[in-house]
Symmetry: D2
Subunit: 264 residues, 4 copies
Amino acid sequence: MCRWAAYRGNPLYLEELVSSPAHSLIEQSHCASRAKTATNGDGFGIAWYGDHAEPGRYRDILPAWSDCNLRSLARQIRSPLFLAHVRAATNGGTRRDNCHPFVFGPWSFMHNGQIAGFDKIRRKMEAQLSDELFNARTGTTDSELLFLLALQMGMAEDPVGAVGRAIAEVERLSAEASDTTLVRFTAAFSDGRSLFAIRYATDHKPPTLYAAPMGGEGGYCLVSEPLNDDVDAWTEIPDGSAVMVSDDGLATSVFRPAGLAVAA
Amino acid sequence: MCRWAAYRGNPLYLEELVSSPAHSLIEQSHCASRAKTATNGDGFGIAWYGDHAEPGRYRDILPAWSDCNLRSLARQIRSPLFLAHVRAATNGGTRRDNCHPFVFGPWSFMHNGQIAGFDKIRRKMEAQLSDELFNARTGTTDSELLFLLALQMGMAEDPVGAVGRAIAEVERLSAEASDTTLVRFTAAFSDGRSLFAIRYATDHKPPTLYAAPMGGEGGYCLVSEPLNDDVDAWTEIPDGSAVMVSDDGLATSVFRPAGLAVAA
Amino acid sequence: MCRWAAYRGNPLYLEELVSSPAHSLIEQSHCASRAKTATNGDGFGIAWYGDHAEPGRYRDILPAWSDCNLRSLARQIRSPLFLAHVRAATNGGTRRDNCHPFVFGPWSFMHNGQIAGFDKIRRKMEAQLSDELFNARTGTTDSELLFLLALQMGMAEDPVGAVGRAIAEVERLSAEASDTTLVRFTAAFSDGRSLFAIRYATDHKPPTLYAAPMGGEGGYCLVSEPLNDDVDAWTEIPDGSAVMVSDDGLATSVFRPAGLAVAA
Amino acid sequence: MCRWAAYRGNPLYLEELVSSPAHSLIEQSHCASRAKTATNGDGFGIAWYGDHAEPGRYRDILPAWSDCNLRSLARQIRSPLFLAHVRAATNGGTRRDNCHPFVFGPWSFMHNGQIAGFDKIRRKMEAQLSDELFNARTGTTDSELLFLLALQMGMAEDPVGAVGRAIAEVERLSAEASDTTLVRFTAAFSDGRSLFAIRYATDHKPPTLYAAPMGGEGGYCLVSEPLNDDVDAWTEIPDGSAVMVSDDGLATSVFRPAGLAVAA
C-alpha cells in the first residue's frame, strides 16, 4: 500500500509533513510500522499550489528517504495546499510517470488502493476517454486511469460526484469481465481551491484515512496513516465517506458510487 | 534522429560496435558530425542473444557516453547477434520504457524515423492489438506501437511481410486522419536467428542504412550511419529495401508496404 | 564547456532564464550553436534563495531538456537571486554530486572552466581543508574543490579575495607539480545577498562572461553565453574581471590571483 | 545492514542467487524477515568474472526489486565466480559510486558492516593510499576506502593478510581518535580465481556469514543470510574466521587483524 498526506490551510513548509515530524511521510516510508506491504521504496511525488492555477510537481523513482532534492524542496517550498505521496508499486513499473500525484490542468490526484482485475478492464476504461485525456496518459497505473476517467465524467463541475461515477463505471466493467468485483479506494485530490478525499471499498475494507487540524484556524491535514503517535489528534474517517476541506473547514458526507456513467 | 547498429556473425564483444571504434555508436552519440538533430542524449539500449530464446536487454536514460554500466557490459558480453541504439527523442518522454530496443518473446526491434501525425492515429493502432500485445505496451513511442502492430500482423511467420502490412495500415490510418501521409522508417529487428532491416519512406527520404562485412565469414554489421571514415567499407542500402542477414549471408530485396492489413 | 546563468534583482520566475526564452539555458544545452564541446547533456542544477539563509537546490543527471521536474520547478519558483547550470563533464563522472551549483551554508557556487593537471594537485588541495570542509566534499570535480578551498581561504569575509587566494594557491601547486600552469575560470557565486562573478585565465583565454540588465531597476543577469540574439543587450565582461551585483547595481573591478595563500 | 551473496563453482546463471529462489537476494531486500534495518532499498550491484581478467560490473541506485535491467542481466549472465550486493545505506549517500561491489583491476570487494567514528579517521586512511589508489576512489563509503587500504597493504600477494593489516590500521587510528574502537566487518572479495570471505568484529558481534555447497562438486555459495528456509543446508561461519573457496573446495582459518601496517 502507498502512503500519502495532504494539507489545506495557512501556508506551511512542505517539510513539516514530508520530512520533519518524528513520524513524517519519509520516515514512514523507510521504516513502516503499521504497513501491510514491506516498504514504500518505489518512488514519491509532491504537488503544490503556488502562484499559478496549475500545481507544481516533483516526482522521482528513488526511495523518498534518499532523495536530497526532495529534502531541499520540502524545506524551501511553502504552500497553502499540497499533496505528497510515497509509492509501493502494485500496478505499473517503477518510473516517474507512474508516481503520484497525477496532474491535469489545475487538478492533482493521488491514490492508495487497487482495482482487482485491472488488466481485464483497462482497455474499456481507456476507450471512454476523449482524445485529449487519452493523450494525457503517460503511465500505466490504474490510479492515473481512474483519475482521467473521473475528469472525463465531470470532475470540473462536480468533483466527488465524478469520482463516484468513475468508480461505478469501474465496478460495472469489472462485473462484466469477471465474477468478482473488488475496488479499494482512498484518494485525495484538489483543484487548487478545495481539498477532497474519499474512502471507499466494495468489500468495506478500504485503506485507512485520517484527519487532524493543523496549521492554525481552519487548516487540516488528511493522511493515509497518522503521522505521529498522538493518537487522539487524528480522527479516522469512516468507510464510505467523502471529505472536503475548504474555507469553511472540514465537511464529511456519505460517499457511494453513483448513477449512470455519463460521459461529460 | 536516433542512431543504431546491429550485428550478426561470429560472436563479437559488443564493445567493438558500441564503445571501441574511433567512430563507435557512443562517440557518435556524443559528438555527432553528420546528425540532423543536435545530439543523442535521450537514452540508449542494447539487446543481445545468448543462451536463451529471448534476448537480454539493458536500457537506461542517461546519455550513453556517461554510463559506466554500459561500458562494462559491452566489454564483457559477447554475442553472435545483437542490436544497439542511442536515442534522440521525438515522440515519447525520456524514460527507460521508451528506449529501444523493444522486446517481446524472442523478438527485438529498434527504429529510427517517424510517423507524422502519430497522435491522431495512436488509438486506432492500439485498437488493433490483441489484449496480450496491448498489455505488453509499457511506453508511449510510435516505434514500440509499430513493433507491436507488426507482431499482431504475423511477424512470427513472415517478418518482413508483417512490417509491410503494419506500415500499410499506418498509411491507411494517416490518410483517413489527415491530408498528408508521412512515414519514415529505418529499422532493424530479429527473432534470434536472422537479422532483418528495412529502409523505407513515403516521401523517399528515409533515414540512411548501411551494411558492411564484419567479424569473419558471413558476418555483417548494419548501421544507421557508418561507424568510421572508411567510406568504401560501407554499402548504402537504397530506399525501399529489406535486408536479411542469415547463415547464407546478406540478402536484399525490394520492400513496399503491402496488401490488406489482416489481423492475425 | 558548461553553461550557466545567474540573476539578482526583483523576484523572477526561474523559467524566464532556464526554459522560456528562445535561447534559454535549456535550449542552449540541447542544441549548442556556439559551444566548443558537442553538447551539455551531463546534468544540471539550480540554486535559489528564498525564505531561508541557505539556498534551495535541485540537481539531476538527466539532460536538462528532458527533465519534467525542472520545467515544473522553474515555472513555480520565483526568486530575487538564483544560479542555474548545465554541465558538460570534464572532470568527474556524471552523477548528482558532481552537478553544479555546489552549496555550503548560505553559499552557492558554479563554474565553467578547468584546471589542467588537476589529478596531480588534488590531494594537496584537499589537504588544506579543515575537517568540516573536507567532509563537505561529496563529489570528485575540480570545481567543487576550488569552491571549498575558497571557503577555507575566507570567502565569508572577502569573497572575491578568497577566490583570488584559492586560484593563486592552485597556480602555485600546479607550478610545483609540472612545467605548465593552466587555469581557466569563469564562475558565479553568492552568499544570498550579493551575486559575484569572476572571469580569469592564466593564458588569457577564459570562458566568456556576459551581463545584461534584467527584471527592472537594478536587476542583472550574468551568463556564460548570451541567452538570445539581441547582441546589443549583452555586455562582455573582459578577461581579468570581478563582477558584483548588489543593491547598488553592477560593479566591475580588476581581478587577479593574489597574495600568499593563508589557510583561514 | 546490507545483504550479499557470492558464488564460486561450475558456471551458474546469476539469477539462481539474485532473483530466482524463494528467498533470493532480491526478495530478501524487498521484504526483510530477519533484517535489523527496515529495508535494503539503497541500490545494488553485481560483479562477475567472464572472459577478461577484470570483472564485469552493473550497479544502480534503484531498489533491486524494481530494476528490469538487473533481472534481464541475471537471467543472461552465467559465471563461475560472482558477487551480488543490496545496500542499506549507513555511510555515504545513495548513488552508483557508493554501491558495492567495488572493483580495481582484477579485484572485486563487497562488505556488510561499519567502522564507528569513520568521519574522524577518514582523512588518515586516505593519506596512506598511493596516488593511483587515491584517484581510484570515486565514492564516499567506509567500505570502498577499506578495500583500497587493503589493496595498498598487499592484497595482491596476501589477500587475507592485507585485509588483516588494513583492519589493524583502522583499529589503531580509531584508538588514536577516540576512546572506543568498533569495527564490524563481514566481507567477500575475489581476484577472479579464488573467493574469499572474512567475518570479524572488535566486539564479537559481527554481521552473520553462512556457507553452503552449491552448483555441483566443489561449488560453494557464501551469504550474509541464508537464502532459503532449508536451515540445515547452511553452515554458519564463526566470528573471527577467514574463508577461501578455490579449486580445493572451501577452507576456513582463524582471522585476526595483524601486525604492523606496512605500506606496500
